[in-house]
Symmetry: C2
Subunit: 531 residues, 2 copies
């Protein structure tokens, strides 16, 4: 498959602009073919108008057909075979096994949303029957369900070139809800993006979807993303990435004449709390598990555990065990930009007088780095008091680093937890007795996170109904929603109520017959029966 | 009951400030006793900190007890008896019968949320059981439910002194979800607000709720509302009122270091479409119904129908019939500010060369107004082409006025609908055949509204599971949510996921036993059974 490097406005390819870029192999610094062309303002406009133009036709596509389209995307991605894996490995330096597994997650997500849409109960149908005899006024016939929100802009994430990029969770859930999607490809893996984009276009064609259901624009310049978010046709935005970029998009969207929601998942420090009993019983095995979680994917996960609270008497040995376990896990990061940021932040920590480095300090050159994006894991130690005193220590370090915070008693631990901002996850290691005895600490942590984990680690985000991959700001810009799992579809739907509509004026989900037997709330009772 | 005019910080009363105001009887312009004192910055801070301080204890209150608290509020409001009705009538000029009926709606809403919380399925519990044998990785135990979002600020609305004020839908749904509430009383009915506030405080005391679960602050100055929205302890805001005020609060909340959601319901023009068949068959009766809807409550409803599209050949007679029917419905508005705004806007319409006045133009003095807030209904006529050409005609006129837009053919009607901004409601009058033949027009209107009504009128908002009182911007600032009906609770809750938690570390709603038999999704199946 020869890459063309062009923007994809529905099935049309265009490259009208003059701003161009190439992908770089982060393992070798080598520039890759071909040249990709940033979308011009008029190409962005064409993509968004094309999405708006397709929105009514796509919303009207029957659920089964929409599910077929999602499955066709999964099939088309699989048909890309090793070529996709190979390009993706070259662009991201992630190992082939990881890419293969991420491809599986991506196609599973698409098929999971296909099943969700086919089953149909996700629309939360609510029906209340009329009562002409009610006093003082007759009760009307009221029916309500979730309908598509309108064209969605999706930003590919650098750290999930498949599962959170062109056909990732945001796109899958937006398409599943019945919305056209305009994706901005992440410039860190544009070739991967183009291949997956072509897979979607092919699936749309074979499934008979309207042309504007999917577009892909390139943007190495922030102008492209900004213009996309500001476009009048766009109704919602899905984003996974840095806090700075996420907040900028959120601010731009909120300041629009007609504000739109931005679902930005911006990562967090994902605190891990080791309670005294767990420390006494299995400090070394917790350290091993933490090290594996910190270095997984060269530390490039939103759920990477960046801070671990350990009782003072165990902190030093815990830190050493963690440092020993991470030492071998050097690796190439996604691109030189994220690696420079990592190296800079680790350097800043290293220079602080209140922070001690537990791992042997080495820079990437000393470690024999084969490329500019080569990162060396780092483990730091600090006192709980110093941690609480400086908010700068509570900011995510994107990469394979973690800080061991030693606490002296539950009071100090409580203060440290209280100092935390919003998080995607919070983890507690403890035995059953101390979990029960410290219920208030669990609640304190629970107020600050989207997911609580007991005796485990936050990486490895299960894609399922019960997942919440979200959390209070700054973990995300909207605490109501998850970006992983079936509930992610709720971001891209809105309620619409039909009052006193005749039977054949209602959507199938709200009509009396209920041929698909979806679960509905009829006069307060949940049932799959017809009205 | 003697009114004190003070702020209520939980059960404490304070009046530290120097900015004061009095309520005014809009029917007579007379100032009423007592003097109310705007909250100072430190009083606002105390109210918000008190709410935050109460939030964990209140979130932990069992559902049955929380339901009892909501019912106790309803009881306490009823115990205020005629005194409440009388003060409310004096402050708002609304008739006693309306206030009595609005009180019924308010107490019904509180009891409806009590039942919802008691039944418990609203938390959308999702459970996925573990699978230690899954390859390549074991599947963890995943459980997720909705939990309280944290302290909520509620702004009382001038046009619903009971049902959307101190103990109205926002407060009821926020308390039901498990959040403390700080209400800013609307300065148009501060005495009513104080009485209802004291009812909530009494209910909180008798139900054993934590002190900070409810506070009430006065604010005749916009400073108070702004400070409330900017307070670090506040996690969400409920607001019903004007576009200018709602947007200002939304902008302030979005610009916070930690942004929070503002659920502002800002009204709309609520278009009514009369299709040719309906016009031919029953133009006069539609005009009668419209007139009643336009003048209900002196036109002071968010769902007041401000624009009606009528086929050109019927427009004139339809307009005349509407004008005749509204002529007698003069009335006193909520306060002189809303009445001046109404009079000014109607005057502007009157002076336009492309707008004709169908009703006999009279100002309030000519109509023998007994007070400054006396409003005279108005009916205007305009061509569809002129309506489409000027966005200024598509802005809500708060008061008893409506514009008859005459359209020449379905093409013109379509253009006019396409020109509309987001709306709370859209209404269609037609016969069954033309509804079926114009499905695309219904979809077009449906994209712009939160509720579609067939052969009815938008006023009279049913409080039920299936209601959606919301809609695309500028009708509201968040298209995902309703502010009326049980689904309003979803604004004030967020998902929290528990991974691999032991049985006794889980909230009751997620534990295996399911003693309250709530509906849960277990491994994808909806069931009330235990795990």
């Amino acid at each position: 498959m020869k890459l063309h490097g062009e923007n994809m406005i529905g099935p049309r390819r265009t490259a009208d602009g003059t701003e161009t870029y190439r992908a770089v192999d982060p393992a070798t610094d080598a520039e890759l073919e071909p040249t990709f062309t940033d979308a011009t303002e008029s190409e962005i406009d064409a993509a968004c108008r094309s999405a708006l133009g397709a929105s009514r036709a796509y919303a009207a596509v029957p659920a089964q057909t929409r599910a077929g389209f999602l499955r066709a995307i999964a099939d088309q991605i699989e048909q890309l075979g090793d070529e996709l894996v190979s390009r993706c490995v070259t662009e991201t330096a992630l190992p082939a096994a990881r890419i293969v597994s991420e491809r599986g997650r991506t196609t599973n997500q698409l098929r999971m949303f296909a099943s969700l849409v086919e089953e149909g109960s996700w629309v939360d149908a609510r029906i209340e029957r009329p009562d002409a005899g009610r006093k003082p006024l007759p009760k009307p016939d009221m029916r309500r369900m979730l309908v598509p929100i309108g064209p969605v802009a999706v930003f590919g994430a650098s750290n999930f070139p498949l599962a959170f990029s062109v056909a990732g969770g945001d796109t899958a859930s937006a398409l599943a809800a019945g919305n056209p999607v305009v994706v901005k490809a992440h410039p860190s893996h544009p070739g991967t993006s183009e291949m997956v984009g072509e897979a979607i276009v092919a699936a749309a064609r074979e499934s008979g979807m309207p042309d504007g259901v999917f577009s892909l624009v390139h943007g190495s310049s922030p102008r492209v993303g900004r213009s996309l978010v500001l476009h009048v046709a766009i109704r919602a935005v899905g984003f996974t990435g840095s806090h700075a970029a996420g907040r900028a998009l959120f601010d731009a969207a909120a300041a629009r004449p007609r504000p739109i929601p931005v679902y930005a998942e911006m990562g967090s420090v994902n605190p891990v709390v080791v309670l005294p009993g767990a420390a006494a019983e299995r400090s070394q095995s917790v350290a091993q598990g933490l090290a594996a979680s910190v270095t997984l994917g060269v530390g490039q996960f939103c759920t990477n555990p960046g801070v671990v609270f350990v009782p003072a008497e165990y902190a030093e040995s815990f830190g050493r065990a963690t440092a020993d376990a991470v030492a071998a896990a050097t690796g190439v990061m996604l691109n030189t930009r994220v690696c420079s940021a990592y190296t800079r932040t680790v350097g800043e920590l290293r220079r602080r007088h209140d922070v001690s480095e537990v791992s042997s300090a080495r820079d990437s050159a000393a470690a024999g780095a084969p490329g500019a994006a080569y990162a060396v894991p780092a483990v730091f130690g600090i006192s709980s008091r110093a941690f609480v005193a400086d908010g700068g220590l509570r900011v995510e370090v994107f990469g394979p680093a973690t800080i061991v915070v030693s606490y002296d008693g539950i009071g100090e631990l409580r203060e440290a937890i209280e100092s935390l901002d919003g998080q995607l996850t919070g983890t507690i290691h403890g035995n059953l007795d101390e979990l029960a005895a410290n219920r208030d600490l669990v609640d304190l942590l629970g107020e600050r996170v989207g997911r609580l984990i007991f005796n485990g680690f936050p990486t490895g985000v299960e894609v399922c109904d019960a997942m919440n991959h979200g959390g209070p700001y700054p973990a995300t810009t909207d605490v109501h929603f998850t970006s992983v799992g079936t509930a992610a579809i709720l971001r891209f739907a809105r309620p619409l109520c039909y009052q006193d509509f005749p039977a054949d004026g209602l959507p199938e989900e709200l009509a009396d017959a209920n041929p698909r037997e979806i679960l509905r709330r009829i006069d307060g009772e949940f049932t799959r029966d017809p009205v």
